[in-house]
């Protein structure tokens, strides 16, 4: 690739501000403007991360967190996608009746439920997975329903007049044309799952990234606190990027929805 002025400016616009921010942060720490007792410098954060990476504790906590988010998310997807398709496609009247209730349930504050989940499912892994399941099911369900409802009816009529059966209709028309909605819902759900996981781990867990940073705060280990926060931020961004990328390479026939 030839490096021209354009690619330089492109790169500058993409990472320039972030690099500048990190640089200023580091310089501020070195110059002593940012007090060491409150702010860890980027170099210290990287050193701490390297140390935790080497002794395996970062891997342990991150894998616990990611697995919790993953299980809750997958369970939610397995329940919500078929349910959404059914509500949007086959039982339209049913959906009209059910939708207000579903949206209402989706507006429930998950933390009001967390204590209830603790009561019902105990303090083990299941209560956390149940909470993640609860928060990720609503975006997927709503988007799956919307996606199926938004399928162009003339496409369905056309396919039917060409003698296409129900399985073919589902595979060739309904799923492709609602895929953009589905991916949008999945991306929102994955984001929310990771988002809600951290406070859930702060409140009742003995492992995981949320526990790592609340523990660092209690013990006043500033570098550890910043390092844990940095890992969470990076994971959050990676999850978002991953789903956007997945959508881009699979749903090539539809323009990306800007939300």
């Amino acid at each position: 690739m030839k490096i021209t002025a354009d690619t330089f400016w492109d790169l500058f616009y993409k990472v320039g501000s972030i690099a500048l921010f990190v640089l200023l942060w580091q310089l501020g720490c070195l110059a002593g403007i940012l007090p060491k007792t409150f702010v860890a410098s980027p170099v210290t954060i990287v050193e701490t991360l390297w140390q935790y990476l080497n002794d395996g504790s970062l891997y342990k906590h991150a894998s616990v967190s990611l697995l919790r988010a993953f299980y809750g998310f997958i369970l939610a997807a397995l329940v919500a996608i078929p349910l959404g398709f059914m509500l949007g496609g086959w039982f339209k009247n049913f959906e009209r009746v059910f939708n207000p209730l579903l949206v209402f349930l989706g507006q429930f504050n998950p933390f009001a439920l967390f204590s209830v989940f603790l009561l019902l499912f105990g303090i083990g892994e299941f209560s956390k997975v149940a909470m993640i399941f609860w928060v990720s099911i609503w975006p997927i369900l709503l988007n799956a329903t919307l996606g199926v409802k938004s399928v162009d009816p003339s496409l369905i009529k056309l396919a039917r007049s060409m003698g296409m059966g129900k399985p073919g209709l589902l595979a060739k028309i309904v799923i492709p044309s609602s895929a953009a909605f589905l991916f949008n819902g999945l991306r929102m759900a994955a984001g929310t799952a990771f988002f809600m996981l951290i406070p859930a781990e702060m409140m009742g867990a003995s492992r995981g990234l949320g526990w790592l940073i609340i523990n660092a705060q209690i013990n006043y280990q500033i570098p550890k606190l910043y390092a844990g926060t940095a890992v969470i931020v990076v994971f959050g961004i990676l999850i978002d990027k991953f789903f956007r990328y997945l959508e881009k390479i699979t749903v090539t026939w539809k323009e990306a929805q800007a939300i």
Binding site: F12, Y13, K14, V15, G16, S17, I18, L20, F21, F38, R96, V97, F98, N99, P100, L101, V103, F104, Q107, F108, N109, P110, F111, A112, L113, F114, S115, V116, L118, L119, L120, F194, F195, I198, P199, M202, M203, L209, G210, I213, I214, A216, Q217, Y220, I222, L225, Y226, G228, T229, I232, V233, G236, I237, D240
Partner: protein
């Protein structure tokens, strides 16, 4: 009645159609408790929950805790608005190059899990009200900022050109065209911000507070007072849904020229436009807003005193120490 009929949501038939399932669910909840299908140690029935709420109201200052929670959200919101709206307008209109250069950094900030900042803010600001309000301000800051930016950027250029050809100066075109054209977007961002900060608030109150709805739930859980968990949870749900309804009502009234927003879906309802809100209603809403703020600040200051009140439920007094 004609006025009520125009707001389609108020028609009894539509109301029944929308909510009969909810009513059925509540009835099933009550019945399963009464018939002994659910274990009251884990799932108290609706009437038990409601009586727990009443008990909390009478003997644990539920009203005051609700006010404390609401005020935290409002103060965070005001701070976020004060920063995000001017910056959004400035970056979108006056310095588009700066907006483009800063964009990635700001997007990263917006994607930061707000909850993982909470321990950081505790380290910065100590353990009082400040870290909670800072987290809430941070949470509502980004949706408001990004929607302001989008709103300002997407102002119809034809409108601006028309204004210019009619001799409107920069200031006039900003005040008369850009400001109102982007306002609905700003309000949508505000609505998202309020929703998210209410989510986060309960969690923040559960981990470190001595007042607020989240604290009531947390302390009831720690004392294994199951009906009180449900009672306070019911309040949280009602407050969250009520707040959303109120904002949707304001949005539809203030931006009556836009398509109206459905209170349940949060999506735009096609067909009908909203009805203009009267200035009396705006004044009333503002007055209510200020009243909540004043009462809430008062309650935050009083929270410690209340906990020592001898008429309060004893466990709550013990828990606070």
């Amino acid at each position: 009645m004609a006025r009520l009929d125009r707001a389609a949501g108020w028609r009894p038939r539509r109301l029944a159609e929308k909510y009969w399932l909810l009513a059925l669910g509540l009835a099933a909840w009550e019945l399963s408790g009464a018939l002994g299908l659910t274990d009251p140690a884990f799932v108290p029935s609706l009437s038990q929950t409601l009586s727990a709420t009443r008990e909390l109201w009478e003997r644990a200052f539920l009203f005051n805790h609700v006010m404390v929670s609401l005020t935290r959200v409002l103060i965070g919101l005001i701070m976020a608005l004060a920063v995000a709206v001017p910056f959004g307008y400035a970056l979108g209109r006056a310095f588009p190059a700066a907006a483009e250069a800063l964009g990635p950094l700001l997007r990263v900030f917006g994607l930061i899990n707000p909850y993982c900042l909470f321990p950081l803010f505790v380290v910065f600001f100590g353990s009082g009200e400040t870290p909670k309000i800072a987290v809430l301000a941070w949470v509502s800051l980004w949706p408001i900022f990004f929607s302001t930016l989008t709103g300002v950027r997407n102002v119809d250029p034809v409108l601006l050109d028309t204004g210019r050809s009619m001799g409107a100066g920069k200031l006039t075109s900003f005040l008369r065209i850009v400001l109102p054209a982007a306002a609905p977007q700003v309000f949508s961002g505000l609505r998202i911000g309020v929703g998210m900060s209410f989510f986060i608030l309960i969690a923040a109150e559960m981990t470190g507070a001595t007042a607020g709805l989240g604290w009531i739930i947390h302390s009831a859980g720690a004392l294994y007072q199951v009906p009180r968990i449900y009672g306070a949870g019911l309040c949280v749900v009602a407050l969250g849904v009520g707040l959303n309804r109120f904002l949707v009502f304001l949005q539809n009234g203030l931006f009556f020229w836009k398509e109206s927003v459905d209170p349940l879906l949060g999506a735009e309802r096609p067909s009908q436009g909203g009805k203009r809100i009267s200035s009396l209603k705006i004044a009333l809403a503002l007055a209510a807003f200020l009243l909540v703020l004043a009462v809430g600040v008062h309650e935050i200051i009083l929270a410690e005193v209340r906990l020592n009140d001898p008429t309060a439920i004893p466990e709550y007094r013990v828990w606070s120490r």
